[in-house]
């Protein structure tokens, strides 16, 4: 069965569509279907700019529970943890029967999808789970794979990866067929009609088929769909199934299109057309009876959809998930309630203010820094500090965007040695030539003919690389763009210069950042803007550890830039006229927090006025002791011997877990720092400063809810999905990773490129380091204000209403959970309940992590 019948090439005479008008109409339908496919997919960023993405991005208009049913139409994926996980949680007494009961109780009131009873949940827990892993049939190659000796699914994935990998390659392969003015589809079409591989495996006549396909991908899709006689109403779902069959590349194409649709056409449509051609080839090999079964399975599915209700097993897991989350939420709220009364903000402004990123790793640092010195006040703010920068290191054709991926960078900047700013262009061409010689060296190494001589003349010199790795000597010595961006940002005498930014625009930037931060008065003597970055070695997921608010890059450039604005006298004068008076004694300093080693490095210390040097040296002492405290906290989480190992992990060439990134994130708190001060949130909370008293019109809250909260939800759901179903929404085993095209990883030889986080990023080998809890957003603000903002933004509203993340509003006495517009559920009773039953110490001891 490995050799199939020859596929007849397509000739115009067999065209089924009769009228010209009908064709055009169908084309519109098809375009709408393709748009729908696109909207159902999340985006995947290339490795160099890797940022967390909500894998359920296109599904948030469905409820969390019914999304599973939607997804299972297109692919096999799970959206909740297996029952075993919950059994263990119950066994460890992390969730009690009472918790489950109360969760069920509240869910029944607000979610009509939940019809299960407590007894049924308990029955489910007692059962040995027999998940019927019935592989549904969605595309023709899956039918063929079942009845043939060849794994056609894997074969087609290999083909897709082969062509997409070489098309999107950013410089790994030395030989590329130039894709000048060519989109992915015509690139594939040009090469696939020369490619004998599928013929040899058994799809005879495939090259002729490719040759006879139209030149436009949409035409191809339309033609092939017609030839397969698929009813028009299942087109959308069928094409989505095709896109999900190579989920990684589809999501990659979606992002690629969003960035440069104009240049290279529509790659996602191209990819679907390619995948459809493969599926069509297998369709030709099937008997008419087998062909029928696909259409039937879709029709079956749509019948079931109408009368869908979640299965008991799914409902049980959903309730248990909620019970766990509610338990932790009420613990947090009761702890916050305890703090609220105790410490009002002191009138006297502190001497040092330090602004950190909202990242959960900053929470640990801020807690310890405040513990070390009472003279430091800390803030939480999105780590790009309101400056969306497009950064081009000198001598490069490419640039990188240092801002959240939701934004488009508006500030063009470069790194120039401040002493030689006049020789800018000279500097540029010099570093370009330097880079070029590196390129030449690489070509000598990797070209077909010269690679032999390279190995003979210089192969042995690699022994130094091995020694460097084995003894963890300094290894940072590459000339790639991302690395140079980092390097340029690190050297303190390299200033960040911008071009084409007017004075007013600069003042606007500075004003917005300070206002959104809530720092418009009471400035300390030193105000530090502290971005963050990571330092890992030999890790393709490097960008994943960097600052997500800076598009997966270091935050150093942004902090340097905002500080250069705020130290500028003319800008300060202008700010004064806009109502923000920065005292003369205030000096701004840029810094960066290394989240892998937990060190803080300050920039431009030699420019600090002499009046501030004493304070500056105090501050650097404080940060040093704070860093030690943070590291010792990390030691217990890693189960390491001492904190030297923390540094070692950052330098090790073979470390798959240099740090835990954002693992553990589950809360987002927008409130004044006083409300969370002295609370050990154990690196689980995004902290954003927000004082609703100084935000009368709700503009700042609107910004928080639509930007940082959305980004945090992406991060949270990325981690959630990577734990819950690592095979589809995670990137699998890091030890097998194989970087393709410099943009993504394969797991092993071939297959699809992987989406999401590796298993090593969420699991330490013994237990999960990230418990998959959906994000709880806690905002201290009047409910009416929150509600009016949520109502205005449909996407945010869906996230909260459909149960993707949850929203809690707190005031002095009570906490309310948002259910839907016009409906809030009071949690204060529960919270006080928890307060009486669990003391502050039990918050620490009832550890979920350990």
């Amino acid at each position: 069965m490995s050799t199939l019948l020859p596929i007849p090439p397509i000739t115009e005479s067999t065209e089924t569509c009769n009228s010209e008008k009908g064709k055009i109409l169908l084309r519109d339908v098809l375009k709408a279907d393709l748009l729908e496919v696109r909207n159902r997919l999340p985006s995947l960023w290339p490795l160099a700019d890797f940022v967390a993405v909500n894998p359920f991005f296109g599904l948030t208009e469905n409820s969390f529970l019914s999304a599973k049913q939607k997804l299972s139409k297109w692919t096999d994926v799970d959206t909740l943890m297996p029952l075993d996980y919950f059994r263990e949680k119950i066994h460890r007494k992390e969730v009690s029967l009472a918790d489950i009961d109360s969760a069920l109780d509240s869910l029944r009131h607000i979610n009509p999808e939940v019809t299960i009873s407590l007894q049924e949940i308990l029955d489910e827990l007692d059962l040995v789970s027999l998940d019927s892993n019935r592989q549904a049939v969605r595309i023709h190659s899956q039918i063929l794979a079942k009845i043939s000796a060849v794994d056609w699914e894997a074969t087609f994935l290999h083909e897709v990866t082969k062509y997409c990998g070489s098309f999107f390659d950013e410089g790994q392969a030395t030989w590329k067929i130039t894709k000048h003015n060519k989109d992915l589809y015509s690139y594939w079409r040009q090469l696939a009609c020369l490619d004998k591989r599928l013929d040899l495996i058994g799809l005879r006549g495939f090259r002729e088929l490719v040759d006879s396909l139209p030149t436009d991908p949409i035409d191809t899709i339309q033609l092939l769909l017609n030839r397969m006689e698929l009813p028009q109403e299942i087109w959308g779902d069928y094409l989505t199934s095709l896109a999900f069959a190579n989920f990684g590349w589809s999501t990659f194409c979606r992002r690629y299109d969003a960035e440069r649709a104009a240049e290279s056409g529509d790659t996602l449509t191209s990819l679907i057309a390619i995948r459809l051609a493969f599926d069509f080839a297998t369709y030709e090999a099937l008997t008419s009876h087998e062909r029928r079964s696909l259409i039937e399975s879709y029709q079956e599915g749509s019948d079931a959809e109408a009368s869908w209700s979640a299965s008991t097993s799914l409902q049980a897991r959903f309730v248990l998930q909620n019970a766990l989350e509610m338990r932790h939420r009420s613990q947090l709220l009761s702890n916050m309630a305890l703090v609220q009364d105790s410490s009002p903000r002191s009138k006297e402004s502190p001497r040092v203010q330090m602004v950190f990123c909202i990242d959960v790793r900053s929470e640990i640092y801020r807690r310890h820094l405040e513990g070390v010195s009472s003279e430091v006040e800390t803030f939480g703010f999105a780590g790009f500090f309101g400056t969306p920068i497009k950064f081009s290191p000198s001598g490069f054709d490419h640039s990188i965007s240092l801002c959240p991926v939701l934004l488009t960078p508006s500030i063009e900047s470069s790194d120039t040695n401040s002493n030689h700013s006049t020789k800018c262009s000279h500097h540029d061409s010099k570093s370009r030539r330097k880079r070029m010689s590196w390129t030449n060296w690489n070509r000598f190494r990797s070209s077909a003919g010269s690679s032999f001589s390279f190995v003979e003349l210089f192969g042995v010199s690699s022994i130094t690389k091995l020694a460097k790795g084995a003894f963890s000597w300094s290894t940072e010595k590459t000339n790639g763009l991302t690395h140079l961006a980092r390097q340029g940002a690190e050297e303190s005498d390299i200033a960040i210069t911008t071009s084409g930014l007017s004075e007013t625009a600069k003042v606007d930037l500075a004003e917005n950042t300070l206002r959104n931060l809530g720092l418009t008065e009471g400035f300390g003597e030193l105000v530090v803007f502290c971005g963050h970055e990571s330092s890992v070695t030999n890790n393709p997921y490097r960008a994943g550890y960097d600052c997500g608010a800076c598009g997966g890059h270091t935050g150093a450039v942004n902090s340097k830039f905002i500080v250069s604005l705020l130290n500028d006298c003319t800008i300060r004068n202008q700010l004064n006229s806009r109502g923000i008076s920065i005292p003369e004694k205030t000096w701004f300093v840029a810094a960066v927090h290394n989240t892998t080693t937990d060190e803080i490095r300050f920039f431009g210390i030699n420019r600090v006025p002499t009046s501030h040097t004493a304070l500056m040296s105090d501050l650097s002492d404080w940060t040093k002791s704070a860093s030690e405290c943070v590291r010792s906290e990390r030691v217990s989480r890693f189960g390491m011997q001492n904190d030297r190992e923390v540094i070692r992990r950052s330098k090790s060439w073979s470390e798959t877990r240099p740090e835990w990134g954002l693992a553990g994130n589950r809360f987002f708190i927008a409130a004044p720092r006083a409300k969370t001060k002295d609370l050990n949130l154990r690196g689980q909370a995004f902290l954003h400063n927000y004082d609703h008293h100084s935000d009368c019109n709700g503009k700042i809250l609107e910004l928080i809810l639509t930007a940082p909260v959305v980004v945090a939800s992406w991060i949270n759901l990325q981690y959630y999905a990577s734990v819950v179903d690592n095979s589809k929404f995670g990137s699998g085993n890091k030890t097998l990773h194989n970087v393709v095209g410099g943009v993504a990883v394969l797991e092993g030889n071939s297959g699809d490129i992987r989406f999401g986080l590796p298993w090593q990023a969420v699991h330490d080998g013994e237990k999960l380091q990230h418990d998959p809890f959906r994000l709880t957003v806690v905002i201290e603000a009047p409910r009416s204000r929150i509600e009016s903002i949520v109502a205005r933004h449909q996407h945010v509203r869906d996230l909260f209403e459909k149960g993707w993340i949850s929203l809690v509003a707190t005031d002095k006495q009570s906490a309310w959970q948002f259910v839907c517009i016009g409906q809030w559920q009071e949690l204060s009773h529960e919270a006080t309940d928890a307060k009486t039953s669990t003391s502050n110490t039990s918050w620490k001891s009832s550890s979920v992590m350990s």
């Binding site: 070209s447 030999n538 798959t656 410099g742």
Partner: protein, 541 residues
């Protein structure tokens, strides 16, 4: 003293190899012990073998070098310095790979078992290079291959892992069978299987050396088959379904064993026109196929795998030409280079997005001028040390082929550097090349002396078979430069597109491989029910 040290190395290697006998569960409970033992033993054997090899080379070779006479094959050394060099190479690579795996596989419940097979594969590899007769060689080599098989199937539930592992299994068994045949013929016709005895044989002393020819051909086939040479190479790029350090060990250590055997028996093998022709033909085809495939692969590990095929191919080509000294340098350089490349394959993202070309294409006159200048420079940089240090002469055809390829490579690199318009970097580059070339040819001379090679087949018209093979092989490798030029000038035509697609597919040999392994795999799968999954990837299945 030398004897004691040799014995110690042998005992250490056997000790490592014997770890294959440790049961799985015990191994997983003794991960730390296995790591310490492995690292300790490897470090000791690296030091010992390096010292010993150094001593042997220093005392005997350098003296005879000054005396300007060839050393006599000395039977007092039961272990030739070549084997000692290989032991130290394996130990050094082993140290790096084991050290890498400590953190890389941390948290895997099966880590102890990993080190058990890793140590044992390294031990058997050392025993392979220490072998002094065909039977020992055969046993140790097959055992190495079986230990590697276990490492390749470290994640046995991955279907794609089976393809690579069983593909290798087939190729290795083909090699084993022909080696067994060689040993039997040798024992029956010569009464010995000793490698040194084989090396002392002179074909010229036999009127009709058919049995010698047969032995040489069979050994050549075994070496080619076990070193993933065309057409049995297709499994190598399919072995990435296992943790990176296994790939590093495979590509830097185990795969070189065939090359080592060919070098070890070079005095014997290079007397046979058929064996040398086999080396030249299959070596150059592998070099060609592998190099083109390497250039087109967008996935880093696949690209490295094809690069291995081509590098080993080139090494066999050198052996075929009679330059086993060059081949030895190639093995050492390639092992170290490839180990580092695999272990650092996670850094590839950091090195990208470089500006590839200068902004404006260069004028024709500039291209022509720089090409001419580069050619002259390359002839000087390579030719001078080759003649004075390496004792190579352009009048010998074998040497000419070898030098021509190196000069072409150097000329290409210098020309590109000249076109980039950075005189300083061109100067540095030229200096680096000169230093590299001087070191290379000194070492080349040393190794040629050390291996006591016969200088390969005499090129005469009587040996027209070998002559044709050599000319074709050289032409094939030089074609790579022509293709490189075409790529650089962005020439696109249907022929090149065809070649590109074929290279992208590894010249389609993986399709046959899959068909074969499917047949074997299905039977084997039934015998070997998948072990219960443990550790943190259990969820994934």
């Amino acid at each position: 003293m030398q004897y004691e040290i040799q014995l110690t190395i042998l005992v250490l290697a056997s000790f490592l190899a014997a770890q294959a006998l440790i049961p799985r569960t015990i191994a997983n409970h003794a991960t730390r012990t296995l790591i310490s033992v492995g690292l300790g033993v490897l470090a000791i054997s690296a030091t010992l073998s390096l010292l010993l090899a150094g001593e042997v080379i220093a005392t005997e070779l350098l003296q005879s070098w000054w005396a300007n006479s060839r050393p006599q094959t000395n039977s007092s050394h039961s272990t030739p310095p070549l084997s000692l060099l290989m032991v130290s190479l394996i130990s050094v690579i082993g140290c790096a790979v084991v050290q890498f795996s400590i953190r890389y596989l941390a948290g895997d419940a099966n880590q102890g078992n990993f080190f058990r097979w890793m140590n044992s594969a390294l031990g058997f590899a050392m025993l392979t290079v220490l072998a002094n007769n065909l039977v020992w060689l055969l046993g140790a080599w097959a055992a190495t291959s079986l230990a590697m098989h276990r490492l390749l199937l470290f994640y046995p539930n991955r279907p794609a892992a089976q393809v690579g592992a069983w593909g290798k299994f087939i190729a290795s068994r083909i090699g084993d069978v022909s080696l067994i045949a060689a040993a039997i013929i040798a024992y029956l016709s010569l009464g010995t299987t000793s490698l040194d005895a084989l090396n002392r044989l002179q074909f010229a002393e036999y009127a009709q050396p058919y049995s010698l020819e047969a032995i040489a051909i069979l050994i050549a086939i075994a070496a080619l088959a076990k070193s993933a040479q065309f057409p049995l190479h297709a499994w190598l790029p399919e072995t990435m379904e296992t943790p990176t350090p296994v790939s590093a060990l495979m590509h830097a250590g185990v795969i070189n064993a065939g090359g080592y055997v060919a070098i070890r028996l070079a005095p014997f093998l290079t007397q046979s026109p058929s064996a040398t022709s086999l080396f030249v033909i299959f070596g150059s085809i592998s070099a060609f196929v592998g190099a083109l495939s390497m250039m087109t692969q967008p996935a880093v590990k696949r690209s490295l795998a094809y690069s291995t095929v081509s590098q080993i191919g080139f090494m066999f080509f050198q052996i075929g030409l009679g330059h086993s000294g060059a081949a030895l340098i190639h093995i050492i350089g390639h092992s170290i280079y490839k180990a580092a490349s695999f272990l650092y394959s996670g850094s590839v993202v950091d090195c990208l997005r470089l500006p590839i070309r200068p902004k404006a294409p260069a004028a024709f006159s500039k291209v022509a001028g720089s090409s001419l200048a580069a050619s002259v420079l390359a002839v000087l940089i390579i030719g001078v040390p080759a003649y004075f240090l390496g004792n190579l002469s352009p009048t010998r055809m074998n040497d000419f082929a070898l030098l021509g390829i190196m000069i072409a490579a150097t000329a290409f690199a210098i020309r590109r550097s000249l076109l980039a318009g950075n005189p300083t970097s061109t100067l540095i580059f030229a200096a680096l090349l000169s230093i590299g070339a001087s070191a290379y040819f000194s070492l080349f001379f040393l190794f040629e002396q050390l291996l006591n090679g016969q200088g390969g087949i005499e090129i005469t018209l009587e040996n027209w078979g070998f002559l044709t093979a050599m000319l074709l092989g050289t032409a094939l490798i030089l074609t790579l430069f022509v293709i490189e030029l075409a790529i650089e000038f962005s020439i696109e035509n249907r022929l090149l597109s065809r070649l590109y697609v074929a290279s992208l597919n590894g010249f389609y040999w993986d399709t046959y491989l899959m068909a074969w392994t499917r047949k074997i795999c299905r039977q084997v799968k039934a015998e070997n029910p998948e072990r219960p999954l443990r550790g943190h990837f259990a969820r994934e299945s």
